[in-house]
Symmetry: C2
Subunit: 337 residues, 2 copies
C-alpha cells in the first residue's frame, strides 16, 4: 500500500496474537473458570483413541462466551461505564456480555432473535440485562444494536470480529493446551465449533504457541458449513439460509473478517455434521459423559462419534462449547436416542 493510499484508506484493525491471549488469561483469572480436561474411558474405547474434552458448558454462564466478553468489557474506561454496553447475539454471547457487565457494574442491552431458546433469554435477563428481541428473517440486528448504542451512549460488544473478543475466547484454548501439556498429551487434532469463528481463532492462536503441529478443524452444522467452504476456497463464503438447524448457537451468516484472517492460514480444514448426528451426540453426552451439552456445543463430539475424522490411536482434543439448552428440547433428544 502506498503512503498516499494508506493515509486515505481506513487501516484494518490489528489482528490479535498469542501474547494477546496470554494477557487475556491474566484479565479473566478468578472471573472465568479454568474448566478441567475431561476424558471418558467408554468414549476412548469406542473410537479407539483418546478424546480429550474441554467442557466449556461448565463455564460461567454455561458457555465459553463469558471469556471474550469479560476480556473486552473489563478494558472499557470509566467514562464508558455509564452508557454501558450493547450486544447482539443468538444467546450465549448475550449471557456472557450480561454477566461481564454485571460484574463491572455496567448496564447492558442485548438484542436477541425471537427464536432464541427461552433458557438463554431468561438467563440473560437474570444477569440484569435488558433484552430487546427482533425477527431473524426480516430485521438487521447490527442496525438495531447501532441505533441503541447511539441513543444510549453505549459501547457495542461484537460477538466475534474483535481483537479482544478473539483473545478472550482464546483463553479456553490456552488452558486446554497448557493442561494437555501438563498431562504429557500431544494432540494430533483439535476440533472447535464454529459460528462466527471467534473461538476457533483464539484457540488456534493458543495452539500455535504450544502445539504448532496439531491439525485444527472447524466443526459446523451441514447446512451452515461456511467455514468449511471458506477454508477450502480461501475466500469467505456465506450460508444460503439464516435458520434451520438445531444448532442455534452456530448460525452466523459467514466467517468474520478478522476471525477468517486468523483461521485461514492456521486451520487444516472444516468438518460438517448433520442435525441427527448432533442429536446423537447430545444424547451420548447425557448418557455416558454425564454432561449437559447444547446442540451447537456438541458438534465436535458429533464429528468424533460419526467418524468424520480418524481417531484410531490418536489424541483428539475437542471443545464442548456450551450447555444452554431448553429442558423441552433436551428431553426430546435424550428420550429419542
Amino acid at each position: 500500500m502506498s503512503p498516499a493510499a494508506s493515509s486515505k484508506a481506513k487501516s484494518p484493525p490489528a489482528l490479535p496474537g498469542y501474547d494477546d491471549v496470554q494477557m487475556a488469561a491474566v484479565r479473566i483469572a478468578g472471573k472465568a473458570l479454568r474448566t478441567p480436561i475431561i476424558e471418558n474411558p467408554a468414549l476412548n474405547d469406542l473410537v479407539g483413541g483418546r478424546v480429550l474434552i474441554k467442557p466449556e458448558c461448565l463455564q460461567r454462564t454455561g458457555s465459553f462466551k463469558f471469556r471474550g466478553a469479560f476480556n473486552r468489557i473489563s478494558q472499557l474506561g470509566l467514562d464508558a461505564r455509564e452508557g454501558g454496553v450493547v450486544a447482539y447475539s443468538s444467546g450465549n454471547h448475550a449471557q456472557g456480555v450480561a454477566a461481564a457487565a454485571q460484574l463491572k457494574d455496567m448496564p447492558a442491552v442485548i438484542v436477541m432473535p425471537e427464536d432464541t431458546p427461552e433458557i438463554k433469554v431468561s438467563n440473560t435477563a437474570g444477569y440484569g440485562a435488558e433484552v430487546v428481541q427482533y425477527d431473524r428473517g426480516s430485521e438487521d440486528r447490527e442496525a438495531i444494536a447501532k441505533d441503541l448504542a447511539k441513543k444510549r451512549g453505549a459501547v457495542i460488544v461484537p460477538p466475534y470480529d474483535d481483537a479482544n473478543i478473539i483473545a478472550g475466547q482464546g483463553t479456553a484454548g490456552l488452558e486446554f493446551a497448557q493442561d494437555l501439556s501438563a498431562r504429557g498429551v500431544s494432540p494430533n487434532a483439535l476440533l472447535v465449533p464454529a459460528g462466527g469463528g471467534g473461538l476457533l481463532a483464539g484457540t488456534s492462536l493458543a495452539f500455535e504457541g504450544l502445539f504448532p503441529d496439531t491439525e485444527i478443524y472447524s466443526v459446523e452444522p451441514e447446512d451452515f458449513d461456511d467455514h468449511l467452504r471458506s477454508l477450502k476456497s480461501g475466500k469467505r463464503r456465506k450460508n444460503k439460509q439464516a435458520t434451520g438447524s438445531v444448532c442455534d448457537a452456530l448460525l452466523s451468516a459467514q466467517p468474520g473478517k478478522m476471525t477468517f484472517a486468523i483461521n485461514q492460514p492456521r486451520a487444516t480444514g472444516g468438518l460438517a455434521v448433520s442435525d441427527d448426528e448432533v442429536r446423537l451426540a447430545v444424547a451420548y453426552a447425557f448418557r455416558t459423559l454425564k454432561l449437559v451439552v447444547e446442540p451447537g456445543g456438541a458438534v465436535c463430539l458429533a464429528a468424533v462419534l460419526a467418524g468424520k475424522l480418524d481417531c484410531k490411536d490418536r489424541n483428539i482434543a475437542i471443545v464442548l462449547s456450551g450447555g444452554n439448552v431448553d429442558p423441552g428440547l433436551f428431553s426430546e433428544i435424550v428420550n429419542a436416542h
Copy 2:
C-alpha cells in the same frame, strides 16, 4: 475380651485406615478417572459461600462405585479369576463391579432389584456382566448372591462392608482433599451421600489425614435417614421401609457394621433431604451446573440449596456421587422445575 473368648469368637475384620486409601489410590491410578473439582459462581453467589464439587458422575461407569470395585477385584488371586465375581446392588455398584471385572477379564454376575432404573441394568449388561433380577420386597439379595457364588465358585464383592471397598471409595475423598489443598482451600464442611456408608467411611479416612478439622456430614433421603439417627444415637438404626424414595441409590436398610465403626467417631452428624428438594437439585444441576446427576447423587447439592447447613462465608465440599438416571425420570424432573 479374655484370651479364652478371643480364641473362640470370630475376630471382627480389621478396619481400613488412611494408608489403605493411599494404597488404593495407587491401584486405581490410570483405571479410575481423577475427577476434577468443579465450582460454579452462580451457586456460590446463591449460598453466599464457596461450594467445592467433586463430580463423581463423571467417573468411569457414571459413579464413584468403580473405585471400590476395582480396588477389591484387582487384588483377587489368579485362582479366583475363573469363577469370577458376584455382586448385589441397586445399580451403581453393579456397574462398578461389572466394569472392574471386565478390565480384569473375569466373569461377573450381578443380582439387581427389579425396580432398578433401566439405564443401570442395560449398562451393567453392557460391561459384559450377567444380570439376575429379584423382588426387593420379598427376596433376600444376599442369599441369592451367596447361592450363586457357591454354585459358580465365585467371590462375592460386597457393596460397602469390606475394607478394600471402603478404601477404594476413599480415593474420591483423597483426590478431593489433595486438590482442595492444592487450591489453598480449607473446607469447613464435607457432605457425602450415604447409603451403606462406604463412600462416607472412605472419604472420612482421607479427610482425617489431610483436613482433620473439617466437619463431616452424611446426607440421606428423609425416610431413609438411618445414618442420621445412628450417628445421633451411637447405635446402628434401621429404616422403616425398603422402597419409596426417588433416590434409588441410597436405599440400604441400615449403616454397615464396618462403615459405621469408621463413621461413628468421625462424622459430625447427618442431614436429610426430601424428594422434592432432591428433584430441585437435579434440575439445578441441569440448568446451572450443566451436570447430569442422578437423584441419589444429588442429595448433598439438595442439602446446600435447601439451606440444611450454614454455607455463608464458608467452604463447603460436596460429592455428587453418580449420574445414572433414566432419561424419562430426568426429563420429568427438569421440565417440572
